[in-house]
């Protein structure tokens, strides 16, 4: 894979009047990387993308692309191409004209443009469709045309603003794989904006999780999921059972948390807070539904939870069991379907346990709202 061109955001702030849309973003995106900004709507991720593409200027800080400061450069002067959320194909131009618009702008001749369009149509597996209008294509095909149009300009960095959000689930999953394959093939840097954690985790080399203008964590997908650095990241990415309480004791990277309703529970301290979390701090403990098991009764008492089944759902690959612990503490457990016939009926009392390595202790913080 070619080295590609990296993108650096250095201490970047973006303000609209008094409103701070992006606060002190420091991001280092390596060349050729598939980098995602993940966050709920309104967290400032699209604002960052617009700043990188040149449609708006940061209030403070710098944007470097391939080491060059982009200050004062318009969208057409940057080595970036943007794919819009609604794709923004030109409805009155034929597909081949759409794809090669960036060449038309530079004054390329018709024959040259048509040749390039044919190559790109080949690449996106739509050969011979160049003479159609965008309205004659399906959602997934339009998607691919938008990608081809952006790639035609031979950008160093491709910016994608939730381009899959308008597609149905099956197609979205298919396009994830396809996008990743295209990125591998062309070897340029992709910056991807999404609120869909599945998209971010499956496609990206690195993910930046954002909340209200602040980047909480930048890491690979697995680290984001298994070792979140804030309560927001833990609750936003995937599902989590949250136990609030205070740190009781700390030893060898583990914390025992005196939870409000479920007693003392042990958890591994998140890497980001290993050195800062102290006994007596307000803390939160997160256990993923799939990390909870039905106890084999050998578990230590500080990784054991008593609960009663409220109801359960069969989801195919797993059972989702909804439980209530002491003082009505609600929990969700996800058990892989191994072919057993046992159903988890309402009212069934269970003892659950978990591996303390798979539970994460973090300082108390704001959670992602449902």
């Amino acid at each position: 894979m070619s080295a590609g061109v990296g993108v650096d955001l250095q201490n970047m702030w973006i303000k609209f009047g008094d409103f701070v849309a992006v606060r002190e973003a420091n991001v280092n995106i390596k060349g050729g990387e598939f980098f995602s900004f993940l966050g709920p709507s309104g967290c400032g991720k699209t604002t960052i993308l617009r700043a990188v593409s040149g449609f708006l200027d940061p209030s403070d800080g710098k944007i470097l692309i391939g080491g060059n400061d982009m200050a004062g450069k318009g969208p057409n002067e940057r080595p970036t191409a943007l794919i819009f959320q609604n794709l923004a194909l030109f409805p009155l131009m034929k597909i081949w004209e759409n794809i090669t618009f960036s060449m038309e702008v530079k004054g390329a001749g018709k024959a040259e443009r048509q040749k390039r369009a044919d190559e790109l149509l080949e690449m996106i597996a739509l050969p011979g469709q160049g003479d159609k209008l965008p309205s004659e294509l399906s959602g997934g095909q339009k998607q691919r045309v938008a990608i081809a149009r952006a790639l035609c300009a031979q950008p160093d960095v491709l910016l994608l603003d939730e381009p899959l959000s308008a597609l149905d689930l099956k197609l979205r999953q298919h396009m994830r794989t396809e996008l990743r394959a295209i990125q591998k093939q062309v070897g340029i840097t992709f910056i991807y904006i999404t609120h869909d954690q599945g998209e971010a985790l499956t496609m990206s080399d690195s993910v930046a999780v954002m909340k209200a203008g602040v980047i909480d964590q930048i890491a690979g997908g697995k680290a984001i999921y298994d070792d979140p650095s804030t309560a927001f990241v833990a609750s936003f990415v995937g599902e989590n059972n949250v136990f609030r309480g205070k740190v009781k004791s700390i030893s060898k990277g583990y914390a025992v948390i005196d939870t409000n309703r479920t007693g003392a529970l042990r958890a591994r301290m998140a890497t980001a807070v290993k050195d800062t979390l102290k006994p007596g701090d307000d803390a939160m403990m997160f256990i993923r539904p799939e990390a909870l098991n039905i106890s084999d009764k050998k578990a230590r008492s500080d990784t054991r939870i008593k609960a009663v089944v409220q109801h359960s759902e069969f989801e195919g690959q797993a059972y989702n069991v909804f439980l209530k612990g002491s003082e009505d503490k609600e929990m969700k457990m996800s058990l892989a379907n191994r072919g057993e016939t046992r159903l988890y009926d309402a009212g069934l009392p269970l003892i659950l346990d978990y591996d303390a390595d798979r539970a994460v202790a973090l300082p108390a913080g704001e959670l992602a709202s449902e």
Binding site: N76, F90, F101, S102
Partner: protein, 308 residues
């Protein structure tokens, strides 16, 4: 129009409303548009007779009203009716100029209105465009006469700053006429264009910009093709109305310039020759329609698009 359509139509509107709407639209189209035009057409082929002779042996169809427009009176020494034909051609050219002027003036305004997201300011702007139309056409025309007059605001202003030494005769040079006509139909140009541009996705403009397109390129390749139905609908209305305008040319026209509608008016009114006036009016209407259709064909606009 098949049976299912009518059933659906009555089911949705009910018998009473359904018939009411049909009768109202039918009355509008047939009694107010088609019948008067047909009787006008009929008139244009008749002799100009005093009332007692109407229906008599002399009341036969003739082409002489049309002949008159082209060749003039029988004792005309020239080959053609030069005066009237010149007025006719000049009217069409002037109407075309007014249309182009309005388009050039209104496209940027409509683009700005359609693409700016500002709520309050936009509403004030639209209001400022509409309010002058509360004043009736005659008054507005006279106001222009005053503004452009020898001692009008514009001449006073130019004299004050020493740009000219003697007042410029805007009326004689037809500047006032063009300005007045152009101004009269500005809204008819702005709103159809504004309507389509408003529905143009901003992202398309940004996408074009991202791909390096200049502003002229963006307008030429993205905005104007999209706005074409609005542009043609605005141009059609402005052209038709200015070619058929009467009040503005009466009031603002220079002494040497006659609008074709003024000729028609003279035939009907002072001349009392309705068949001759009808022939003139029919020629104006038909030629205007032909021009509009030809231009639409040239710019590849469909009739159906205009209604959008």
């Amino acid at each position: 129009m098949n049976k299912g359509f009518m059933q659906e139509y009555f089911r949705r509107n009910g018998q009473f409303m359904g018939w009411g709407l049909l009768i109202a639209v039918g009355f509008w189209v047939i009694v107010l548009i088609i019948l008067p035009q047909i009787s006008m057409l009929d008139f244009s082929f008749r002799n100009h007779l005093p009332p007692p002779e109407m229906g008599g042996p002399k009341d036969v169809y003739t082409l002489k009203n049309y002949q008159y427009l082209i060749f003039g009176a029988e004792n005309n020494p020239e080959a053609y009716n030069r005066v009237d034909l010149m007025v006719f051609v000049r009217t069409l050219i002037a109407a075309t100029c007014v249309t182009i002027l309005d388009l050039v003036l209104c496209y940027p305004i409509a683009y700005y209105l359609g693409q700016s997201k500002g709520g309050g300011f936009l509403r004030i702007l639209v209001l400022l465009l509409i309010i002058p139309y509360w004043i009736n056409e005659i008054l507005r025309a006279f106001a222009f006469r005053i503004i452009f007059g020898d001692s009008g605001v514009i001449n006073e202003f130019l004299l004050l700053f020493g740009i000219i030494d003697t007042p410029f005769d805007f009326i004689r040079e037809n500047v006032a006429l063009y300005a007045g006509l152009g101004y009269a139909y500005i809204l008819l140009m702005i709103f159809p264009i504004y309507n389509v541009i408003e529905s143009l996705d901003r992202n398309q403009i940004e996408a074009a910009r991202d791909m390096g397109a200049s502003w002229t390129m963006i307008h030429r390749r993205v905005v104007i093709p999209y706005a074409k139905p609005g542009i043609s609908s605005g141009c059609t209305m402005v052209f038709m109305l200015s070619a058929g305008a009467l009040a503005a040319p009466q009031i603002l026209g220079g002494p040497s310039s006659l609008w074709f509608t003024q000729l028609i008016y003279q035939w009907f009114n002072s001349g009392g020759n309705w068949p001759q006036g009808s022939a003139y009016a029919v020629v104006l209407l038909v030629v205007c329609i032909i021009i509009v259709l030809t231009v639409m064909r040239l710019f590849k606009v469909n009739m159906g698009d205009i209604g959008k």
